[in-house]
């Protein structure tokens, strides 16, 4: 049928995801029938080494984590670009190699820049 592509190869994955979710939820629900439930305020306190928690745990975290997240996006996109290239590399040959070297060199420049800017340092 035109316009109706059914990725039948992916059907097993869909079923697998459903089964896995069912296993996870099933265990949780089945357990809830059997297990005991005797909560009291001290038991429900978050763990803080035996002390009353001080302040809000969901604090504003270090900007370093954002840097790591940005670097991740850059390099992961690069990796994703590399995958299709790697697959067809054998059939295209030298031209593909040069193309990709240019790409990698540009990336390495950015990488060196990030290194010099101490984006990889944590202390």
């Amino acid at each position: 049928m035109p316009g109706k592509y059914i990725p039948s190869d992916y059907l097993p994955i869909l079923i697998f995801l459903m089964v896995a979710t069912a296993v996870g939820l099933g265990v949780l629900i089945a357990g809830s029938i059997f297990r005991l439930k005797r909560p009291y305020p001290e038991k429900l306190m978050p763990y803080e080494s035996g002390n009353l928690p001080v302040g809000e745990p969901r604090y504003r975290f270090s900007v370093r984590f954002y840097i790591i997240a940005m670097l991740f996006v850059v390099f992961d996109v690069e990796a994703v670009f590399l995958y299709p290239w790697a697959v067809v590399f054998g059939s295209i040959g030298f031209y593909a190699f040069v193309e990709m070297m240019v790409f990698i060199v540009i990336l390495v420049v950015g990488y060196v820049y990030a290194w010099k800017k101490e984006a990889f340092n944590w202390d």
């Binding site: 097993p12 697998f16 059997f34």
Partner: protein, 337 residues
């Protein structure tokens, strides 16, 4: 034409049979994985125990062989404590996400020739995607628990997992270049032409980077900072108890098995071996996976833990350049030959 007729078409029966077969396969794989995970914990406690001049579990059953079952039953019936200030829906769902993400990677791995649940042409990419998804479970559990220790653990873990994700992804590019495919069965078949039927020798560098990144991805020692016992007590799942704790535990071990499986299929020739073992087509695969799992335990018993900044520098300053170098070397070698 009635609705009834649109649903029941001549080939509906075939489709149902197909789905039935798929379901059967899935049940077999999931059951086998669960069994392996249970006994992976036993194997870990025993092997590390013997490395540390002690015996490991000895009480439940002969030599403690029933210990994992006893643990499972105990955790199943344990009280499920949800902290009062927790973000409840997120707290509920986090272990399920972890478990599903870990399990679903199994759907594209060929266990022996012709046996794979979903033989898709981007298998490797799917696995990488799913292993990133596992980080969600960790991050949101750290966030939802409303505890500082779990929050720190979740942050550490997210930064660690995404950092090593890159190195892991790049280390596999060499394999893709050599095999010219992302389909895992094709990758295994392509290895037959190489010495010992493995990629580990031409892809030494990639293999090394993959193994280090893989250990970091699964939060195992010496990169177990998110759950560093002596610092963050248990890290992101410090507030989890009972069956939810068990699910995190399960997903960590499934993650370990999945990383071992990828290492085996991408670098060590998958199900093929130096000679064929009759009647058990998956024997070689299992042996290799057991070896890797033992390797995990061995490292755990040997090495101290990295510090956070050292872990990040290792990932960014050593593994990523090495993985890029590996790609360049593989490219040059492939052009030369």
């Amino acid at each position: 034409m009635s609705i009834f007729e649109t649903i029941i078409q001549p080939d509906t029966f075939d489709v149902l049979i197909k789905i039935g077969i798929i379901l059967l396969k899935i049940v077999i794989v999931v059951a086998a994985a669960m069994l392996h995970v249970m006994y992976a914990t036993y194997f870990e406690r025993k092997s590390i125990g013997h490395m540390q001049v002690r015996l490991g579990p000895m009480e439940v059953g002969p030599h403690g062989v029933l210990q994992p079952i006893a643990d499972g039953v105990k955790l199943f019936f344990k009280e499920d404590i949800i902290p009062a200030d927790a973000d409840k829906p997120v707290f509920y769902i986090a272990p399920v996400i972890s478990l599903v993400a870990a399990l679903s990677s199994l759907s594209v791995i060929p266990f022996f020739k012709g046996f794979v649940i979903a033989n898709i042409n981007i298998g490797l990419l799917f696995i990488l995607a799913m292993s990133s998804l596992g980080a969600y479970g960790i991050i949101i559990s750290g966030w939802a628990s409303n505890s500082k220790y779990s929050f720190l653990g979740g942050l550490r873990s997210s930064a660690q997992v995404i950092s090593y994700e890159i190195a892991m992804g790049l280390s596999l590019v060499g394999v893709m270049m050599m095999a010219g495919s992302l389909n895992i069965s094709d990758i295994v078949n392509a290895q037959a032409a190489y010495p010992l039927r493995v990629y580990a020798i031409p892809q030494m560098l990639g293999f090394f980077v993959f193994m280090v990144a893989g250990i970091a991805e699964t939060n195992r020692a010496p990169f177990d900072l998110p759950e560093a016992e002596s610092e963050l007590v248990a890290g992101y799942f410090v507030e989890y108890s009972g069956i939810r704790f068990a699910m995190f535990y399960l997903s960590e071990y499934i993650g370990m098995i999945v990383i071992s499986l990828i290492a085996v299929v991408c670098f060590l020739g998958g199900w093929s071996g130096p000679f064929d073992i009759p009647y058990v087509p998956f024997a070689w695969l299992l042996l290799k996976v057991y070896f890797f799992i033992f390797f995990y335990y061995w490292i755990r018993a040997t090495l101290p833990r990295y510090r956070y900044d050292q872990l990040m520098s290792l990932g960014w300053k050593l593994l990523i350049p090495l993985a890029l170098l590996n790609i360049v070397i593989t490219g040059i070698a492939k052009l030369m030959l």
